[in-house]
């Protein structure tokens, strides 16, 4: 019993360690002063108000949204098909293929970034949002595959067989039975892969050229102490957006696994 109590206490301290740093950003973004230190001088929304008038920031936001949306769709589409193959079929090279698509999770960022830069330049693709999209699709793919795999895992094959048995064609079956049932998984995958891309920095830093994404923009602002409060405000908004997206994604993921019970 003493051990259990100790573990629980430790667990709460650990949660504090995980959350406190992240919570300091929003806290100080409302601070009426330019130095990030206690005591807090006063409360203000000024830093948030100023964000709206920064054109480069708006452009970076648009870039990030674009890159995120396209990479999310590309990686989810590929993940959807691959996951279906892994769950439904046995085929030669399946294990190698499954291992390979998870590789982007563990390759050091700097190596992916530098090697893609070199590759794209050699292929005549200048650093640009297109290059970033290709890179982010690569990084997000393992997440899409993992989420779609669990969506298909919960999916009873006999439902498809029943649809075929009742006279649907293969395409109809996919559209009328498979797709609606795994739809929550797809939404969840889109949200998660979007978040991966939206938050990614190193690859975008190497590949975005003169079209910065939001994290690259933030990186450029971090050096200027005068801009610090604005950066905090922007960062807080990003935190909020990421967490919201994840919670919504989790909601959909759970719905996909509950829908068949």
């Amino acid at each position: 019993m003493k051990l259990a109590f100790g573990l629980q206490t430790y667990a709460f301290f650990y949660l504090g360690f995980l959350y406190l740093p992240v919570l300091f950003l929003p806290l100080f973004s409302f601070n009426d002063g330019t130095i990030v230190a206690f005591p807090i001088k006063g409360w203000t929304l000024e830093w948030y108000r100023q964000l709206g008038s920064q054109d480069t920031l708006i452009q970076a936001l648009v870039n990030s949204l674009l890159v995120g949306a396209v990479s999310a769709m590309l990686s989810t589409a590929m993940g959807l098909f691959a996951a279906r193959a892994y769950v439904r079929y046995r085929f030669r090279g399946k294990r190698i293929s499954e291992g390979l698509v998870m590789l982007p999770l563990v390759v050091p960022g700097i190596i992916v970034a530098s090697s893609m830069l070199v590759l794209f330049i050699s292929m005549g693709l200048k650093p640009s949002l297109t290059a970033v999209i290709l890179g982010h699709t690569f990084l997000a793919l393992p997440f899409a595959v993992a989420i779609m795999k669990s969506a298909f895992d919960d999916f009873d094959v006999s439902l498809e067989e029943a649809a075929l048995d009742l006279g649907s064609t293969v395409l109809e079956t996919f559209r009328r039975v498979t797709l609606p049932i795994v739809a929550p998984g797809i939404v969840s995958s889109l949200l998660v892969t979007f978040t991966v891309s939206f938050d990614e920095f190193v690859l975008a830093f190497f590949l975005s050229g003169n079209e910065p994404t939001l994290p690259v923009y933030i990186w450029s602002q971090i050096r200027f102490p005068a801009k610090l409060p604005n950066t905090l405000a922007l960062g807080s908004l990003l935190l909020l957006a990421s967490v919201l997206l994840l919670v919504i994604a989790e909601f959909f993921r759970r719905r996909s696994s509950k829908s068949l019970v």
């Binding site: 740093p21 992240v22 563990v106 960022g109 590759l119 990003l238």
Partner: protein, 285 residues
């Protein structure tokens, strides 16, 4: 779908993802190898094959120093992160009432931008930062602590924070998979709590521990953001040097060489680690 066999359907469906990842892993690698044997001459690249870059990388003490430091820091991060995470994974798998809630709570901070989390640590650990000002205000210290930021300690702390969920999840899964009757059997055969942990739980969760170590160690060696923001000059790592070659120094061939060497060293250390960890696991009886 006219594909006849199951196998063909599987191959066809998984092909886009496999080819995409395969291409983006293999092609850059080949080009990196090619680049590493070329030479940068101002803005042009001399494509005569040479091993000069490797010679430079091996003889330059800075490269060796940064490489060793990167590996040591990554190893320290791995040990700290896994050691801190194991009790949490154990708690969630065995004791916690609401497992999914705990797992969600653990993963949420990880979904915020990595860059921002590192940035937050910079603000916390700084000379005039959150921690120092708080301690000063509370009267616990008279002047700001200087050992917090811009050194290896800051890098290890920040990275251990950033990689926490990656350590917790695989260990949680491996603990969760243990059949509770195995632990009862150990008790029944006379083991105390600690003995059954060391002789049953630990060896059975070894695969999870190894997975966690690899997932943390490999990317950490090549981390760029953390050493740049909180490492100062004492905490710089190999990624910073590589970035300089592709940026300010504009020496892509040397950058390519360093990337390849970093990858090889990581691979080598990882293999040695897995082999020795498994060997250790087999000796527990």
């Amino acid at each position: 779908m006219n594909l006849r066999s199951e196998g063909a359907k599987g191959v066809a469906l998984s092909a886009p993802a496999t080819v995409y990842v395969g291409f983006l892993v293999a092609a850059p690698l080949l080009i990196l190898v090619a680049y590493s044997m070329w030479t940068q001459t101002y803005v042009d690249i001399d494509r005569t094959p040479t091993l000069a870059n490797y010679r430079e990388a091996f003889t330059d003490p800075l490269v060796r120093h940064l490489m060793i430091r990167s590996i040591l820091i990554a190893a320290a991060v791995t040990v700290v992160t896994v050691a801190l995470a194991y009790p949490i994974a154990y708690f969630i798998a065995i004791r916690a009432q609401k497992k999914t809630l705990w797992l969600l709570l653990i993963t949420i901070p990880f979904w915020s931008s990595y860059l921002l989390r590192v940035f937050a640590w910079k603000l916390i650990l700084g000379f005039n930062g959150v921690l120092n000002s708080a301690l000063l205000a509370l009267g616990l210290i008279d002047e700001p602590l200087t050992f917090l930021l811009y050194n290896e300690f800051a890098v290890v702390l920040t990275l251990a924070h950033a990689w926490a969920p990656f350590a917790i999840l695989p260990i949680f899964v491996s603990i969760q998979k243990i059949d509770p009757s195995l632990l009862e059997a150990a008790t029944d055969l006379g083991s105390s709590r600690i003995e059954s942990f060391l002789r049953v739980t630990l060896p059975l969760t070894l695969p999870g521990i190894i997975a966690a170590c690899l997932v943390i160690f490999i990317p950490t060696v090549g981390d760029y953001v953390t050493p740049s923001l909180v490492g100062g000059s004492d905490g710089k790592m190999i990624a910073n040097l590589i970035q300089v070659q592709f940026g300010a120094a504009n020496n892509w061939p040397l950058g390519a060489t360093l990337s390849l060497l970093a990858m090889l060293s990581v691979g080598f250390v990882a293999i040695v680690f897995v082999l020795s960890a498994n060997g250790f696991g087999r000796r527990i009886r």
